[in-house]
């Protein structure tokens, strides 16, 4: 619904964004693809000969890959599960008539502002440290042996830290969504004799589906590439117990300087992300329409 002039103008105004994103996506991706077929190590100068799929073979058959693949899924899935369930509960609680809701909201929002490196370090040292951490003090006070979080449950510890960072986000989106729920609908349901659970299940949850979709989509984008939290807490260990794909590729390419292997890993990561993306896009396509 516009004139030829405005359509031409629109194309011109889209050009910078599209060009930049295309360049950002295509150029490095092609380079990664190209490197992934080479025997290319920054430490070993040579003619970087073509080795075909050898890098992929090494990467995919490496037990570390399988482990970090599942770690990635557990990390994303675990954080999503915690932030969504706690987020829904928190949103419902904050939706009630309470005194000082704005102050509670400020407190709940705060972890979102904390940079990953800070939250990982604070949690690691001040809370989860087996000797001087607050949790260790608490355990001693109760007379139980303190848990050595990063030795005994490295991945779960990271999941907890990341969940703390993303809970405010989920809770506040869901709160905004709940607040837009038609109160008359709830009253009508009450008149029809619906209890709190059926009200939640038949009215609140369907109303939240769009917001839940948004949370899943946005969190997944960021969670797939969790990096700093691992770097400053466990460095992926012990062994590969808390290594995700992002971290694995980082160690290969920038710590072992194996550009070829790292690139093959990068391409694999892109493929995995694409599979997730297709799945997610379907989900949004359905839920974010209108």
């Amino acid at each position: 619904m516009a004139t030829t002039q405005s359509r031409t103008l629109a194309r011109v105004m889209l050009l910078p964004s599209v060009t930049l994103l295309l360049a950002w996506m295509i150029v490095p991706l092609c380079m990664t693809l190209y490197f992934s077929f080479l025997d290319y190590n920054l430490l070993i100068p040579g003619d970087n000969e073509f080795v075909g799929l050898l890098n992929y073979e090494f990467f995919l058959t490496d037990p570390a890959f399988v482990e970090s693949f599942f770690n990635t899924l557990l990390l994303v899935g675990g954080v999503l599960l915690i932030t969504l369930t706690c987020g829904i509960a928190l949103a419902i609680l904050l939706d009630q008539a309470i005194w000082g809701r704005n102050y509670v909201r400020i407190m709940v929002l705060a972890p979102f502002f904390v940079m990953p490196t800070v939250s990982a370090l604070v949690w690691k040292n001040m809370f989860m440290n087996p000797v001087n951490g607050l949790f260790a003090h608490l355990a001693n006070w109760f007379g139980v042996a303190p848990i050595d979080f990063f030795a005994e449950m490295p991945l779960l510890s990271i999941v907890l830290i990341v969940s703390w960072q993303w809970l405010p986000f989920a809770a506040l989106i869901l709160l905004t969504a709940i607040q837009s729920l038609d109160r008359e609908q709830l009253e009508a349901a009450e008149l029809d004799g619906a209890g709190p659970f059926s009200k939640f299940y038949y009215l609140v949850l369907p109303h939240l589906s769009r917001a839940i979709t948004a949370v899943i989509l946005i969190e997944t984008i960021f969670l797939l590439s969790i990096f700093a939290e691992i770097l400053v807490t466990t460095s992926g260990g012990p062994g590969y117990a808390s290594t995700n794909i992002t971290y694995l590729i980082y160690t290969q390419s920038l710590l072992q300087f194996d550009v070829g292997g790292g690139s093959a890993g990068g391409i694999v990561a892109v493929i995995i992300a694409n599979i997730v993306a297709i799945f997610l896009m379907r989900l949004i396509g359905k839920n974010l329409e209108s």
Binding site: M1, A2, T3, T4, Q5
Partner: protein, 338 residues
Amino acid sequence: MGSINLKQVTKSFGDVNVIKPLDLAIKNGEFIVFVGPSGCGKSTLLRMIAGLEDTTSGTIEIDGQDATNMPPAQRGLAMVFQSYALYPHMSVRANIAFPLKRAKVDPKVIDEKIAAAAKILNLTDYLDRKPGQLSGGQRQRVAIGRAIVRQPSAFLFDEPLSNLDASLRVNMRLEISELHKSLATTMIYVTHDQVEAMTMADRIAVFNGGIIEQVGTPMELYQKPINRFVAGFIGSPKMNFIDVSPKHGDPTHSLGVRPEHLKVTTEKGLWRGTVGVVEHLGSETFLHVNVEGVGTLTIKDHGDCTLQYGDTVNLTAPKNKILHFDANGQTIASLSWQ
């Protein structure tokens, strides 16, 4: 100045022809109303005249100049939108000043023009308010004020009253009509409300399915509609249509009688039926009479009608008030208005 000439103008979105080839000459100073059901192309045509929509083929001339491909700002037209389209972040004064500032008018002149427009539109006390603080009627007047300060060669109105409540609508109708009388500028007014069309227009163009069915003065359309569509669209309550089986030598397929021309009679009339719902409006009464084999006929009777639900009545109408339509719904002039 403000004559607008449409020559073989068409508009299509992809394969859909929204406006079929159309000619229309709008005279300078005329108040012309485009009326028709929703989706008939009347708003699209208005937006094409404004330059907000491309013209697929044909030419639009404004004051004798080909304006088909001119950008909106150069056409010298002003438009009042359905939602008023006021700038919410600007005061009333800034809203009215906006087009003048864009035209780089001297600030002193701007102030004078705003004061004059505000006086005409009773907005003087509201100049420093934001649109959000105004009532619907006031917002409408601001939108009109923004249009008149530019002294355009023609005003375009896109269903400007449809967001107002009924009583305000009557007032604004009068105000716009008065404005037209005092400015004597061409106005093109789009509406789906035939009452607005009848009361305000010098001429009405009735749109249907992307074509203009008929153009004429309100009374021409009321008295001599060229087809069933126009006959049914103009007039309230709607004209009654009665299907008849065509006789040899008589091409009449259906008859049309306006409610106000049907009379209840004690003698043997043209139709006989039983009274259904009776609607008393005080000044007049609408009777819905069920006639066997014909359907429900609406009769507009005088205010103190005493007929009741279930009464049997005879109905008649003066012969020269009955319209005859042929198989294509075209009015058969020779039978309809001798």
